[in-house]
Symmetry: C2
């Protein structure tokens, strides 16, 4: 009977991120990640299908939160404002993971395989945002445009966050990027 391991997922994530940084993603095995976390390979596979999935741990929960924040945006919020609120909620939950979040993103960006998985995830988030907007009565065309634009602003804000030397939080940088979009859109 499988034993429940307290915080196994978080331990495996920490171990994986550390090993990917030290040895590179391709050079790290599941056995090494499990060992570093003080767990067995068998326990690893109880939680994750492969080493790639460790890096995307929590993505589904965060996507639910993202969708919920868009749907519960104030009725007067514009479609783009609603997406901005969703992405700020998303950003807060990334920040809640502490400094491991930024390290995770850097590892993903350094690997073509992981970057491709990330692109698919962004496309799925755009789709989620679009569906959430439609449930608010936004037309299909406008929903796609607001969702795609929102994901672009998010990508720009995340890049700034990774480069940032100031103490701005990710949600602050997301809010600032949306404010900047409003500024560059008006003459």
């Amino acid at each position: 009977m499988p034993r429940w391991e307290p915080a196994a997922e978080a331990r495996l994530l920490d171990a994986a991120v550390a090993l990917f940084e030290e040895r590179g993603y391709d050079e790290t095995t599941v056995a090494e990640i499990a060992e570093r976390a003080g767990l067995t390979k068998r326990t690893f596979f109880r939680y994750f299908a492969d080493k790639r999935e460790v890096l995307f741990w929590g993505a589904e929960r965060i996507e639910d939160l993202f969708m919920g924040a868009i749907q519960s945006a104030p009725p007067a919020a514009s479609p783009l404002d609603a997406v901005a609120l969703g992405l700020e909620a998303f950003g807060r939950s990334l920040e809640g993971q502490g400094e491991v979040a930024a390290r995770r993103i850097r590892i993903v960006q350094a690997s073509p395989e992981l970057s491709e998985r990330q692109l698919i995830k962004f496309a799925s988030m755009a789709d989620t945002a679009s569906r959430a907007l439609r449930s608010r009565g936004v037309s299909a065309d406008a929903a796609v445009l607001a969702a795609e634009t929102g994901m672009t602003v998010f990508r720009v804000a995340t890049a700034r966050w990774l480069e940032d030397t100031s103490d701005s939080t990710l949600p602050q940088l997301i809010a600032e990027a949306f404010a900047q979009l409003r500024a560059v859109a008006s003459a």
Copy 2:
């Protein structure tokens, strides 16, 4: 001494697009493209490095036009308006190629290899737009955001153009998508 072939590039493009549609991109050889165009393989290689490059013929000239249109936008135009004017000029020049333009895009989208080349081209266009905006006095951060957002709006407009059953032209759909972005951004 190489003989100059009138309109060789356009003939090779037409032949390549027709063959890629009939047989698929991967299954078509340079020899077949040249033969269909009534030219030799040698002539093909005088104009293009490989079969992939045929599909991107004219991209550099169009990118110059894109940059020029952003730089020469009215001084009062917002950064996003300037990018919109650049993309409308780009769209007009695609439309000038007639129906081969849409077929070219469909072939590119059907092939992972070509889609990747297209992504790189879009990134290079975003970079061009960003540089053009900076030459108008826009700050680096705002220029990147306006350029990336502009490319997203362009991508949405192009997708609509390919699906479109109305008689809207690509430049019209681009202008409409930018107008729609302004609408979804305001409460």
